[in-house]
Symmetry: C2
Subunit: 457 residues, 2 copies
């Protein structure tokens, strides 16, 4: 519990309805989309950067941990209050403060929901490329803290690529403004990128300047089925190697297809080994050319069926299975461990084969989805944390998966972040020197170690 004297100070800043500390309220902020849980001591819902600055001054003075949080769609435990403390929920700060159509940027508050912004921008003929699968609820601030990716990352990259500047509150309450509104800007050191993906360890992002793109005039998707998964992943490597840059290139394996079909009855064939979803965008004639070329590659690599969407309704139908996948897998058993190891695309076939061997070795059900065009692989282990013996096998399997990814030239996380869940494996990537730099940066920006303690390192 937060001492009453401090609670009073926090209430004075955020207002009575901006401070929560009943057990019921705290429970709502005790988990995110990972498997981890921990109770915070209090939740504050500020309305402004100034309020957050004041809260940080108190927290720093009292050495109370602070965890910034958006919608809690985080998959690596990054928003869990592992050491208790104050959760600052940014959901009330959701304004679009500035929108320049002619200069293609917007300044928004961190608590704005990604999809709400997309809908707004779309009306102006623009879009913000980052599209995490959780975008219907995930906030821009959360996207930035995790440097979130999404299906269209193959063509458009990740969140950091689209952030021009940030307003952030440091551990001691200092407010800084990084970057600006121009697309080119090398005035001073790139503090913007340092905060993107820093998982709340270095400061709390309260506002962001987003770089936008014109909406492409046309898009078209293919849904492709394979009797052999190896042929599907070879297709991915061949498409990427061919020079085509699709918007999205997604893979779902037999396990996931079957789970989705059982739950949704959308007509997916249950006897195939894998499905690819490929989307291209741009001008219509170019898209149609690319689709033809992709179809040819798919068939040459052994696809048994290729469906091409000819209108928006068909587009939606093709993507429905992919969109439902995590939800359906999560309903299968009490826990679904979703990882996001990333390997060079040419190693995707070996990575997927390796995941199946690991599933067999530990007698586990592992479904595989992938933002395959990026080599960003999502093995999903459905399990039950209460079954201690099975849980141990699942944890061992994850360790093996991480080691395999690194052996294949890859990395632990493409888009979900390290948080709690990948912390034990950070030494596969960071050596003593890299840890020292990270600790030094943390120490100098947050000397009392109050910002999201217990994460990454």
């Amino acid at each position: 519990m937060v001492e009453e004297k401090i609670a009073k100070e926090l209430r004075a800043i955020a207002g009575g309805d901006g401070y929560l500390d009943s057990r019921e309220d705290l429970l709502n902020y005790s988990y995110d989309s990972s498997v981890d849980e921990a109770m915070p001591d209090a939740v504050v819902l500020p309305n402004s950067t100034e309020q957050i600055s004041k809260i940080m001054k108190i927290a720093d003075r009292e050495k109370i941990p602070v965890i910034a949080r958006g919608a809690g769609t985080n998959l690596s435990g990054g928003s869990i209050a592992v050491k208790g403390g104050i959760v600052i929920a940014l959901t009330r700060m959701n304004a679009i403060k500035e929108f320049s159509k002619e200069n293609r940027y917007a300044i928004v508050e961190a608590g704005l929901v990604n999809l709400d912004f997309q809908n707004y921008a779309m009306k102006q003929g623009l879009f913000f490329p980052p599209d995490p699968s959780s975008w219907a609820v995930a906030t821009i601030g959360g996207n930035i803290a995790e440097n979130a990716g999404g299906p269209r990352g193959v063509k458009y990259g990740v969140t950091r690529d689209w952030i021009l500047g940030l307003k952030a509150v440091l551990a001691d309450g200092t407010v800084i403004q990084t970057g600006g509104v121009t697309f080119k800007n090398v005035t001073g050191v790139d503090l913007t990128s340092l905060f993107c993906g820093s998982e709340g360890l270095l400061g709390i992002v309260t506002e962001a300047t987003l770089k936008l793109l014109p909406l492409p005039p046309f898009k078209q998707s293919l849904q492709v089925f394979y009797p052999k998964i190896d042929d599907a992943s070879k297709t991915v490597a061949r498409i990427i190697g061919s020079g085509i840059v699709p918007v999205a290139l997604e893979l779902m394996d037999r396990v996931v297809i079957n789970v989705v079909e059982d739950a949704k009855k959308i007509g997916l064939p249950k006897d195939v080994a894998a499905m690819l979803l490929v989307m291209v965008d741009g001008i219509e004639s170019e898209c149609r050319n690319q689709v033809r070329l992709i179809e040819q590659i798919c068939k040459e690599e052994g696809a048994s069926r290729v469906a091409i969407a000819e209108n928006e309704t068909q587009e939606e139908a093709l993507w429905l299975g992919r969109r439902s996948a995590l939800g359906c897998m999560s309903q299968l058993r009490p826990n679904c461990l979703l990882e996001d190891v990333t390997v060079p695309v040419s190693n995707l076939p070996v990575m997927i084969k390796g995941i199946y061997e690991i599933a067999t070795k530990y007698n586990l059900t592992i479904g595989v989805m992938a933002h395959a065009g990026d080599g960003n692989t999502h093995p999903m282990i459905v399990t039950d944390k209460r079954d201690k013996e099975e849980w141990e096998r699942a944890e061992k399997a994850i360790g093996d998966i991480f080691k395999l990814a690194v052996d294949l030239g890859g990395t632990l996380s493409g888009e979900h972040g390290v948080g709690i869940s990948k912390k034990p494996f950070m030494n596969l990537i960071y050596g003593e020197a890299e840890f020292r730099v990270l600790k030094d940066l943390k120490k100098v920006l947050d000397p009392n170690g109050i910002l999201n303690p217990g994460k990454i390192m």
Copy 2:
């Protein structure tokens, strides 16, 4: 001078021909492409990261300044040894260590010349988007240190957008590896971006992992002349606002056109107020559509002549004037002060008008070039540093230009960096809080302050 005891140690590391300290040799490393000059005490030409690590250990122990340097094409004085010390020239480290066509990345040493790499990559059907105008000599390491831009930045962004990972040597000789080879990677904090554009203040980049793109199959350029410069800059804002994303959108004003035509006799009309160069790339039909649309916008905005390149020879001819511009301007008088203020594109007309008013106010010749599609404006003041009174006027004019850019929502530097030349104006952008963060980062990574002292802050 470096003490003989230390010189001996450095010679033992880099070899006899890898250590220079004669006055003639030092003079070669006393300047870059800015107007500043200062003599280093020694120059070391290492062959490996390990050698640089050893050099740094000595420099840190002895508290000797170290300035890393590529080809010295820097325009803001970033490679000048303002406090003496050791210049580490990376030009011998120019290997392409790994090239993956299928996964579209390359690992190269920092001293590799940008254009040498482009030529290599082109043979594999790929390219590295950053194209600073100095690319025929500028090194990848220099591009990274300055986060260099170039004409095709409008579509493809700047150096940082294409760096997947770095090997860097810290002030104390520690070697760190950031990032990896995958396009998506959020394992740990983004140290890669922190080093990109840090102008040698935080560490010395020795190797970089570059992200590559497939070569577009077609490109086409337009050369457009205007009787009124305002119409040219309005065209720029309209093209960008229309949703077309050209590769390059360059502007040259009457002053520059006349200087280039006098020097090169390439048939540029001397009575126009401005020239635009626009390039699009992609598939041929799309390019031709875009060119038609751009031509229409240009004519509607008052263009007096539009030339469209129909083959590679014509492409080269159209771009020749732009490529020669800085060289021709520099030959006009002893000094050419080239700045790179950047404003939102919609403010480009006001920025250019303001520059002309400043030229009149201080009775100076200022030519204007711009990567106009980015709002990245290059006012070029031709002057003579030896004429104290004129030099003072030039310096005042630069101050006014910086203030105007910031008033218009812009920034000091789009691609050249701060170095020495923009240091006095940093407080237009950084407040106390941002300076404190920068100083803190510097202090923790370089406690003895030996890395490129006297720059940025």
